[in-house]
């Protein structure tokens, strides 16, 4: 159980990477931008991939009526996400420590993992909803109004994951280092649960002999 608890502590602590590294990145490349414009998405706000990328993306997007990219104070997510992640790290470490001293069973580790997965899926859902709003909720006085072949207004929603061609831009959306830390950490907590389960099974066997 000690090994499992240590894995639980390390795994949940790895989520702290989200406070340092970006979670996600959206990059916009075009022939006239040989160095692509990019947004790094952190749990507490957005940053340009290069210093003035946010300003320059906003500058381009105003032609099609997109809103300017949100500042941290413009979105509740940027204040709530750090609390959620911080809380989950706290609980994870606490569960690990309690497990270490055999105060709780491995079920708590699985419980933490399931909760974190649900929160993660909700986070992705929320992110996608924001992208959808950002890419489709356009200023009716926009300078350029582009429509799809069927006459519906064109959406400028960047992809949640992967590549998409948008007008003259190639948009790429991929997880970044913070997300990899989270992924690795969650895998570790899953392993922690598994190790706990194995340990429990082995000790049960020991008792029975």
């Amino acid at each position: 159980m000690k090994k499992a608890s240590l894995a639980m502590i390390v795994g949940s602590a790895l989520l702290m990477g989200l406070f340092v590294f970006p979670l996600w990145n959206i990059e916009l490349g075009a022939p006239q931008y040989p160095e692509p414009l990019g947004i790094n998405i952190y749990i507490n706000g957005l940053q340009g991939q290069s210093e003035f990328d946010i300003q320059n993306i906003d500058g381009l997007n105003h032609y099609i009526g997109m809103k300017t990219l949100p500042k941290p104070e413009d979105m509740w997510e940027f204040s709530v996400f750090p609390l959620v992640i911080g809380g989950m790290v706290g609980f994870g470490v606490l569960f690990g420590a309690l497990g270490y001293f055999d105060k709780i069973s491995y079920h708590w580790f699985f419980g933490w993992f399931i909760l974190m997965t649900i929160l993660g899926v909700l986070g992705m859902y929320d992110f996608n909803a924001w992208l959808l709003d950002y890419g489709t909720n356009l200023d009716p006085k926009a300078i350029m109004k582009l429509v799809n072949p069927d006459g519906t207004p064109m959406s400028y929603k960047p992809p949640l994951l992967g590549h998409q061609k948008m007008l003259n831009f190639d948009a790429y959306s991929y997880p970044r280092l913070g997300a990899y830390f989270m992924f690795l950490g969650m895998c570790l907590t899953l392993i922690a649960g598994y190790l706990g389960w194995k340990y429990k099974k082995a000790s049960n066997l020991n008792y029975s002999t």
């Binding site: 210093e51 003035f52 300003q55 320059n56 500058g59 032609y63 300078i143 350029m144």
Partner: protein, 645 residues
């Protein structure tokens, strides 16, 4: 039929050229050697002076593509340089506003004799000045006027740690200037050799001292390097001190001199309180990158040095036939004097010169300055059989390349053996030539660029006037190969070049708006406003794709002096905005991202007058415009301004 076709192709190949040496680009791989494919970049930067354009042009090698014209001594309507309020002070002199000069010799700053790519210096020949250009912004940052000088020709060459940039006078003149008979020139005129110190961190220039030499013409110069570091060499002509019909009267002496100046010795003399302060008027103009403004300060004094007061500091090396170019090889051992009226080159040896000085083997004196014996300092003679040698540059393999003006050719020869290795024609009348780094201890001997004075029949004719021509030779092999020629802008008098990797990575892409300290800058469009101060109206305006803030201005009156202070709020590489207004008596402005520039408009007629962006900035560039309402002088309409109302 096929046979006839082949015959036509063969005959057309040789058409129009009976020079067996030039087969054209298709005869070799020349086209491949200069071809820089779309999206690829050149290997070297080349900075060609514009001569009578007063500016400096930036080209790529080997493609010969021109990238930019940097305004230096001339007004430049493309960017508003010399027209905008910030840059007008850069062209101030003791003669007032002089918006033109004759820009001759660029030289890139060095550290330990190697190009360091911080700044490039260039001289203004006509109204003597030296300019410093920053090689991260490619903008002129400083211009210092040179008093007591006339025809700043043996300039602007720099010592191997950029300690000094020199400004030797081509014309000797009375010092100080006075009203006197011209035919009393001899013995009364002086030639000032000015040593301008360069502050190591920011490059700021200051005249350290002026050496007042005999009244010869000081033509070209070159710093020593390596062992000869601490010395500077100046060619002279008109040691006859003639003052009329110079082409004959100043060409009588079989030998003129190369003046060897031990500047370290004079520096020491000056640092110990030597020299004489003399009243002088000269302008010192500095452009500040933070405020985006130039300021001009008039200086009142200059320190002069009489060479006779510093024994052992100045010597004359006799050099045949009115030497023009004065070039020192990368080791610093050989000083090459190109007698422009001769067929041969004279090479002096630095070691021999030092030995002769130590042994005091003098062959008389001129105005008290010792003349060394020609034979004692001679390292060798290059017997070339060309005519009119002018300038020499060097590669890193011990070869020298000399231009011959009269016989229109470049001659390659070996240092030490003095044998001619190769010669190639130029088209035509070549002046200077340039090898990147050829003016330093570390040349990059891959290409030589020859700069020609006459262009006829090289390109499609454009009336009697044509741009000059430059030619690129591949010098990577034993034999030179002409691989390209291209027209240049102005007179490509001389050039300096360096590897692209020295400059490209540190080239500035924008000015940071948050570093903008211009007193009339607006850091946020909400600060845009209009203020009246008597008949001066100051418009604090910002620009971003694709509008001006404000774009409607009322309350301006006929007779007002309207200052448009425009701040470009873009922070994106290569997105300037322009500004111009109808009836303006200056030029438009081109404002770089993060920069502020000011333009004056003096409305003369009542009406509603448009202004607009002159740089195609976006899909809505045409809509980037605004109006100023101009009311009669006695009108009482209040100042007001707006955007989007």
């Amino acid at each position: 039929m096929a046979l006839i076709g082949v015959a036509m192709i063969i005959s057309s190949c040789g058409n129009g050229s009976n020079k067996s040496s030039s087969n054209g680009a298709l005869g070799s791989s020349a086209a491949e050697k200069v071809y820089v494919a779309p999206g690829q970049q050149d290997e070297f930067y080349a900075f060609l002076s514009g001569g009578y354009s007063g500016n400096l042009t930036v080209y790529g090698l080997p493609s010969g593509r021109m990238f930019k014209e940097i305004p230096v001594f001339s007004q430049f309507p493309t960017s508003g340089y010399g027209y905008s309020e910030e840059t007008k002070p850069m062209l101030n002199t003791s003669f007032g506003f002089v918006p033109w000069d004759d820009a001759h010799h660029p030289d890139i700053s060095q550290t330990n004799g190697e190009l360091d790519g911080r700044w490039i210096f260039i001289n203004g020949n006509n109204t003597p000045r030296v300019a410093r250009i920053n090689l991260s912004t490619f903008e002129t940052e400083e211009i210092i006027e040179v008093p007591n000088s006339a025809g700043n020709h043996s300039s602007s060459f720099i010592t191997e740690n950029t300690e000094y940039v020199v400004a030797g006078t081509r014309f000797s003149v009375p010092v100080p200037q006075k009203d006197m008979p011209i035919n009393e020139y001899k013995g009364n005129f002086k030639g000032a050799l000015t040593f301008i110190s360069v502050e190591p961190e920011h490059g700021n220039m200051d005249i350290k001292f002026q050496l007042l030499m005999p009244g010869f013409n000081y033509d070209l110069s070159h710093p020593g390097r390596g062992d000869s570091h601490g010395w500077f060499f100046f060619t002279t002509y008109n040691t006859e001190e003639a003052n009329s019909l110079m082409e004959v009267n100043s060409s009588q002496n079989d030998k003129d001199f190369i003046a060897a100046v031990n500047w370290k010795k004079i520096e020491e003399y000056v640092n110990n309180g030597g020299g004489t302060k003399m009243p002088a008027d000269y302008a010192h103009n500095v452009y500040d990158e933070g405020t985006h403004m130039g300021t001009s300060t008039m200086k009142k004094e200059v320190l002069t040095v009489d060479p006779l007061k510093v024994p052992g500091a100045v010597f004359f090396l006799p050099t045949p036939k009115s030497p023009h170019g004065c070039d020192v090889d990368p080791t610093g051992q050989y000083i090459i004097g190109n007698g422009k009226l001769s067929a041969d080159l004279t090479v002096h040896s630095f070691d021999k010169m030092i030995a002769a000085i130590e042994d005091e083997k003098f062959d008389g004196e001129a105005y008290g300055i010792p003349i060394l014996k020609f034979e004692d300092v001679l390292a060798g003679t290059v017997k070339s059989g060309g005519l009119g040698p002018l300038h020499t540059e060097f590669d890193e393999k011990g070869n020298a390349y000399t231009t011959f003006f009269i016989s229109s050719e470049v001659v390659k020869w070996k240092l030490g053996t003095w044998e001619v290795v190769d010669r190639k024609p130029t088209f035509y009348s070549v002046g200077h030539l340039m090898i990147p780094g050829g003016n330093s201890r570390k040349p990059f001997g891959k290409y030589v660029v020859a700069m020609n004075k006459i262009t006829k029949d090289r390109y499609l004719p454009t009336g009697p006037e044509m741009e000059h021509s430059a030619q690129i030779y591949d010098i990577s092999g034993e034999k030179m190969e002409l691989i390209y020629d291209f027209p240049t802008h102005g007179e490509p008098h001389y050039a300096a070049g360096c590897p692209a990797e020295l400059l490209a990575p540190k080239s500035k892409k924008i000015y940071r708006l948050d570093d903008n300290k211009h007193p009339y800058a607006v850091s946020n469009p909400s600060e845009a406003r209009v203020e009246r101060n008597g008949n001066e109206v100051h418009i604090y305006m910002s620009t971003i794709r694709s509008h001006f803030t404000p774009d409607n201005i009322e309350g301006v009156k006929v007779g007002d002096k309207v200052y448009f202070h425009i701040t470009n709020h873009e922070q994106d590489f290569d997105v300037p905005h322009g500004f111009s207004i109808i009836g303006q008596n200056t030029s438009e402005l081109l404002v770089m991202p993060g920069q502020t520039k000011t333009s004056i408009w003096e409305p003369k007629k009542v009406g509603v007058w448009p202004f607009y962006c002159t740089d195609f900035c976006s899909a809505l560039h045409q809509e980037m415009q605004g109006y100023v309402r101009v009311s009669p002088a006695n009108s009482d309409i209040e100042l007001s301004w707006s955007l989007g109302e």
